[in-house]
Amino acid sequence: MDARVSSKVKAVLAARGIGKVVKSGESDLVILRDIDLAVMPGEAVAIVGASGSGKSTLLALLAGLDLPSTGSVTLDGEELFALDEDARAALRGRALGFVFQSFQLLPSLDALENAMLPLELAGRRDAESAAKQMLERVGLGERLHHYPKHLSGGEQQRVALARAFVVEPRVLLADEPTGSLDEASGEAVIALMFELNRERGTTLVMVTHDEHLAARCGRIIRLSGGRIVA
């Protein structure tokens, strides 16, 4: 971690000329066009815009969860779309953490198993102890064996944060992390997220339509009609 913080100032995540076009009936629908973006290590960037402006699509492309129609993305020095899907997944496992609006916890796994998942996928033998520690850090040490349906929305999002941070990612991608939460829970989750971010020197890229939340990030990128407008 220290090595990363002290590394030369070079974008940890960069997009060049990213575009996304999907077929919609007979015509083509342009979701994103010609997006250039560079995120420096340790930076906190908010992507804001109205619904349908292409925020979530951009986030999915930055993570390599979807394929762009044009352009390229570099993550941690590696050209994402030059890799095959498996290599992209491995890179994600190494370098990225995710927080989704709808949490995306697996309902058949309890809190601990959900947090262990990325570690298990990476073949880490200390998966259980590391996940336990992380859950204690987010305040869920007493609820390790509760299933998602028995947790509140705020608690579920904290499990999701634990799952995201447990692999100590270089970049955390958050898609409307408070979108499914009430104000108090949302505030608690955001506070925790920024705290962890600072603690671990993680780079944060967050999609949100909440201007207050965006203002807490160092930089705001505005999207409109699939383009960066500011």
Partner: protein, 723 residues
């Protein structure tokens, strides 16, 4: 009338349907008589006072009975020529037969009408009361068809339940939104119920059309084989089809749909709320009960229906419990730990197996149910048909030899030995009239049943033997023990007991050439009438019967090359009656082959239902797996990890499902073979290998297809879809 006479211009020449019988002044001889008399078409035969030219060789009489004491070679003549022969006069034994065929309703009406008017010596015969050897075949075919139909219906029910469950899971969100918007629960239920009802009506209509088309196809095909026209299908099956289809749909689709109406509106806020509850057991039980009642009514065979319905109900419960237990043990035991230590993918697969143990148990139980039906139908079908053929094998005896005198036994054995023909088993035969039952005299007037009256009127053929014949099975009581003073004991055929109202423990008194023979019935035997072996209604203890005048009887098979020996045998022992039952046997084999063909065609429908269940069970958890895979991919799982995890999970499930299905299929087939089909099944040890292997292969292929499918779609898209 069904079928056509066929004749040929000469012996061993190709035959053709005959538009009518022999013309006036001519006769037709069948092949056996033609060769026995050494007369060719064009030659002349003398019949009573008249002489006729032989016009053709009679090759097929579809209406010919095969009661073997009545299958002397055939001569067919024109009825108008009969008076000239002088054959019909006082003391002649002449039988008249009226053959009737038609719509079932008309035939039933005619039977009821005729039964009331039957005079002395007249009887009404049908497949149900004539020809025991063919009846067995038809009964078993009916049972197998009943089984096939029952299985198809049960499987369809399971497929509907599984399919609806998935439908419900996919519509939960929509329902929650509608509840938010103020739609009442009853309206929600009415909405989906009417949608299902319309779908059900359309599906039933499509099913009926397919059914009639298949019937037409089978009818045409069988008509070619039988050279007979089958009656057209009536409207009743369509009505039954609709009824069964709708009961299946409502019985198995309504319980999950009721869960849909119970979705709380809060699910709009919290997706975890209002997931379908596993326990709608009461609703499912009601569906199953109504289906069971309908099936029992429709199958018409209560025993078969009860075995299948109860067998499958028990199987569902046992399968779910056993699958849950087996998956937990497989995934969490020391085995899983040692396997998991070697491979992360295996560990993930086994962990997933443990975590999904409840939904996986349902999936495994459904798979096991589908596999059970397929194994039951396909493998036991082969067993049943094999056993069926063995009961009337192609090498069954084709000659009966009667009236062998005790002093002829030694020279007869010598004759067989000198011609290198294996000596058949010889059975003693004593003729006796049944005089009393439990001390009361019996008379034919005591019975209303025509067959019972004929039996009482005639002399019975009694036999004696220290051991029960190998092709007989004692079904109640016990075989007498000669050493323990079994002199006054007799064994009776169970069917005769039903006809004459005799039971175990009754004392019977026979009159054998003026001498009494009194014995108590101490065992009942089941016989295989279609085995073409010598069978007796009563078998007594040797010491009690051998002092009575005895002749001997046997049945044996004569290979075509040994046919001339029969003539030598007849010449050397002129008092013997040698009956050729080859023609009857051939007819029986033909009926058997045709019935088997028809049965196999219907079997395909049930097989399709079994496959439908397998498919429904496999896609039931597809949505959940897609989402899980997408999340795993987002957190860095490689495709190899996804594939290996799914393969491990599915392979374990396939193995468990295969094992359960094998046990289920073997248990149900054993009960069916004994209780319904009356057949001995060979042991099927290899099924324990084939069943689990089938499950393993099937689910491994599914794992491969399923992971290919989830890996093809980008994780972002899946996560967005499954939100």
């Amino acid at each position: 009338m069904r079928g056509r006479l066929r004749s040929a211009p000469g012996l061993n020449q190709s035959d053709a349907p005959a538009p009518h019988g022999p013309a006036r002044g001519t006769v037709w001889l069948d092949e056996r008589l033609t060769s026995a008399l050494g007369v060719k078409p064009g030659g002349r035969v003398k019949l009573g006072n008249a002489e006729f030219p032989v016009a053709a060789v009679l090759t097929l009489e579809p209406d010919r009975g095969a009661n073997f004491f009545n299958i002397a070679p055939r001569l067919m003549m024109n009825k108008d020529d009969l008076p000239a022969t002088g054959l019909v006069q006082t003391g002649s034994r002449v039988y008249y037969q009226l053959l009737a065929a038609g719509e079932r309703k008309d035939v039933d009406e005619f039977s009821a009408w005729a039964r009331e008017r039957l005079g002395r010596g007249q009887r009404l015969e049908s497949l149900e009361n004539a020809r025991p050897e063919v009846r067995n075949t038809i009964d078993r075919a009916q049972s197998f068809l009943g089984l096939t139909a029952l299985l198809a219906a049960v499987l369809a029910g399971v497929a509907i339940a599984l399919g609806t469950r998935r439908f419900v899971e996919r519509h939960l969100d929509g329902c929650a939104v509608m509840r938010c918007l103020g739609v009442s629960q009853s309206r929600l239920l009415a909405l989906y119920a009417s949608e299902f009802l319309m779908l059900g009506l359309a599906a039933c209509a499509a099913g009926c059309v397919t059914g009639y088309a298949a019937h037409a196809l089978i009818a045409q095909w069988i008509a070619q084989l039988l050279q007979a026209q089958l009656p057209a299908a009536t409207a009743l099956p369509a009505l039954q089809g609709f009824l069964v289809g709708l009961v299946l749909l409502l019985g198995f689709a309504l319980p999950p749909l009721i869960q849909l109406k119970n979705v709380p509106a809060v699910r709009v806020m919290r997706r975890e709320s209002g997931a379908p509850r596993g326990g709608a057991i009461a609703a499912y039980a009601a569906g199953f009960a109504s289906l069971a009642a309908l099936l029992l009514w429709q199958a018409g065979d209560v025993k078969l229906g009860a075995i299948v319905v109860a067998g499958f109900a028990a199987a569902i419960v046992v399968f779910v419990a056993a699958a849950w237990l087996a998956l937990r043990v497989a995934a969490s035991g020391a085995l899983a730990r040692s396997i998991g230590a070697r491979s992360m993918a295996l560990r993930l697969g086994l962990a997933s197996l443990r975590r999904h143990s409840r939904s996986n148990a349902i999936q495994v139980a459904s798979l096991a149910l589908g596999l059970t039906a397929i194994l039951l139908l396909s493998i036991t079908r082969a067993d049943l048909i094999g056993a069926w053929r063995r009961a009337a094998p192609p090498d069954a005896p084709n000659r009966f030899m009667l009236n062998i005198q005790p002093d002829q036994l030694a020279p007869l054995k010598e004759f067989f030995a000198s011609n290198a023909i294996p000596m058949p088993d010889l059975y003693p035969m004593i003729r006796g009239r049944l005089a009393e039952v439990n001390g009361k005299p019996v008379s034919d007037r005591d019975f209303t049943d025509e067959r019972a009256r004929r039996l009482i009127e005639r002399e019975f053929n009694l036999s004696f033997s220290a051991e029960s014949p190998a092709h007989n099975r004692v079904v109640s009581g016990r075989w007498f023990d000669a050493r323990a003073g079994g002199r006054d004991e007799v064994s009776m055929e169970e069917g005769l007991g039903k006809t004459l109202g005799l039971k175990l423990g009754d004392t019977v008194r026979f009159n054998i050439a003026g001498e009494p023979y009194v014995a108590r019935i101490t065992s009942l035997r089941a016989l295989k009438w279609d085995s073409m072996k010598v069978n007796f209604f009563f078998i007594g203890e040797p010491a009690a019967l051998e002092r009575h005048p005895t002749s001997w009887i046997t049945s044996f098979r004569v290979a075509p090359e040994h046919e001339p020996l029969i003539n030598q045998l007849a010449a050397r022992f002129p008092n013997l009656t040698i009956v050729d039952i080859g023609a009857a046997l051939k007819q029986l084999q033909t009926v058997l082959d045709q019935v088997i063909l028809a049965v196999q065609f219907v079997f395909l429908f049930a097989l399709a239902a079994g496959l439908l269940v397998l498919y429904s069970a496999l896609v039931a958890t597809e949505d959940e797996r897609r989402r899980e895979t997408a999340v795993m991919r987002a957190f860095g799982a490689s495709s190899a990890q996804v594939v290996a995890a799914q393969r491990t999970e599915f392979a374990a499930m396939g193995l468990v499902a295969g094992l359960l299905a094998t046990g289920g299929a073997l248990a149900i087939s054993a009960v069916l073979a004994r209780r319904v089909f009356d057949l001995e099944l060979p042991s099927n040890g290899w099924l324990w290998l084939a069943g689990p292997l089938a499950g393993l292969v099937l689910l491994s292929v599914n794992a491969w297809l399923s992971s290919r499918k989830v890996l093809k779609v980008s994780p972002a898209l899946t996560l967005r879809d499954t939100g």
